[in-house]
């Protein structure tokens, strides 16, 4: 099981039956693979569909049905097509139960930076600021470090995406819960020690007596 699969499987455990969930492009989009259909979850693509499905069969792609990354998708039975105002009305109005987003940095305040690297990458925030501000629950799914640098930092050096404290960080090494007191280490990846996590984390972690291993079974069926 590679690092990304581990993260996706663990995030899938957070998804509750019958909820509305938005998955960011990249790593977060893999989460859908581990959510059983029996859960009755609807995935939203913010470009305008509730009930996003898997990739279409080869040769059956429709250019009127894509996800927020522009890739061909399908729609599940019971899907609804919506315009951008309704789509972000759902997000901003608190109707979206969960969003799973990638991250460049998360800091000890729980602030996420994921939209800009000044001077290097200025793609625009797309829907990220609305998602982090409005979703009932925000989960950051990312690699613990990039190019040897911890992505969990004392204070974001990159521009933040919102003032809102994210609810959970899931990485290939650990599950961390930002709280009023700081970053609480909740779980570790199988075979990874607390010391290894602390060592790989630039931010201060609050380490409780017991840190269980992640459950990687995927979404609860």
């Amino acid at each position: 099981m590679d690092a990304k699969e581990r993260v996706a499987r663990r995030v899938a455990r957070e998804i509750k039956p019958g909820t509305l969930v938005n998955l960011g492009i990249g790593l977060p989009s893999l989460v859908a693979n581990y959510v059983p259909a029996s859960l009755g979850v609807f995935f939203q693509a913010e470009n305008g569909v509730i009930g996003l499905g898997a990739r279409p069969p080869e040769g059956m792609e429709d250019r009127h049905l894509t996800d927020a990354g522009g890739g061909f998708v399908t729609a599940v039975p019971g899907a609804a097509a919506i315009d951008s105002a309704m789509s972000f009305g759902l997000i901003r109005g608190g109707h979206l139960d969960m969003t799973v987003l990638g991250g460049l940095q998360v800091d000890e305040r729980g602030h996420l930076a994921n939209w800009k690297v000044p001077g290097k990458m200025v793609p625009g925030m797309g829907g990220a600021m609305d998602l982090v501000t409005g979703a009932a629950r925000v989960i950051v799914a990312m690699q613990h470090a990039a190019k040897g640098q911890s992505k969990i930092v004392p204070r974001c050096t990159l521009p933040v995406t919102a003032l809102r404290r994210v609810d959970l960080i899931v990485t290939d090494l650990a599950v961390i819960e930002p709280s009023e007191d700081g970053l609480l280490l909740k779980e570790r990846a199988p075979g990874v020690t607390i010391a290894e996590i602390v060592d790989a984390t630039e931010a201060i972690l609050i380490v409780p007596d017991s840190v269980p291993e992640m459950d990687l079974a995927g979404g609860k069926p």
Binding site: G18, L20, G40, F42, V49, I50, G51, A75, P77, G78, A79, A80, A81, I82, A85, M86, F88, G89, L90, R92, G93, G94, H95, G134
Partner: protein
């Protein structure tokens, strides 16, 4: 969507003093069976937010006649003499809101906006006591968002996951109110299998709907 409820079970969810957004325009598009169940249960001290209070014997008019309503937020009560009589008698209070402002305030509440900046009502009684702001060289009235404990909707079709559509002018406030109720209960005229309402025909996504009323027997 949590499933289909009998009208009595739906009415039981609604406690005394609850605030209710009720769809419909002169009772067209109002959830009549749900309203009947509330009247039967006799839930008092309700706040009703709706375009109007219909007329005696129809839609919201039945709640008014039964004396269950303490406060009304509406754009028009002129066709229900009982609402006016009870207001004059001090049995209920009434906030009158321009219709376009009303629907936009409900939308703002439903989509997480902090208020509505409109010119409607400027220089009239509607402005009294409200903040205004100068933007883009014009003065705007700031109207507050509206949400409620419940949204009670009348719909045309629902499918098993709660997707709704509406028929002609029975649509009116319903799809906007679907965004702004803490709990959303929809009374469709028919309930059809998933797939019967095509994605582009859905006007209210099922994710907004908590309960459907079961089919009329």
């Amino acid at each position: 969507m949590k499933g289909a409820l009998k009208p009595e079970a739906a009415a039981e969810l609604i406690g005394e003093g609850a605030s209710l957004l009720v769809g419909g325009f002169m009772a067209v598009g109002s959830p009549e069976r749900l309203i009947d169940a509330i009247v039967a249960r006799g839930t008092k001290n309700l706040t009703i937010i709706a375009n109007d209070t219909a007329m005696p014997g129809r839609g919201i008019g039945k709640l008014i006649s039964a004396g269950l309503v303490r406060h009304v937020i509406a754009s028009h009560i002129g066709l229900n003499p009982e609402t006016q009589a009870k207001m004059i008698a001090g049995e209920l209070t009434c906030e009158l809101v321009p219709q376009g402002t009303l629907v936009e305030r409900i939308r703002a509440g439903g989509v997480g906006l902090g208020g509505v900046l409109t010119q409607t009502g400027l220089g009239t009684e509607v402005e009294q006591g409200k903040p205004t702001i100068e933007l883009g060289g014009k003065r705007w009235l700031i109207e507050a968002p509206i949400t409620a404990d419940f949204a009670l909707l009348g719909a045309w079709q629902a499918d098993y996951v709660g997707n709704l559509n509406y028929m002609l002018t029975a649509q009116n406030f319903n799809p906007i109110m679907a965004l702004a109720g803490q709990t959303v209960i929809a009374e469709p005229e028919s309930i059809v299998p998933v797939g019967v309402i095509a994605p582009d025909a859905v006007r209210t996504p099922g994710v907004l709907v908590d309960h459907l009323l079961i089919r009329a027997s």
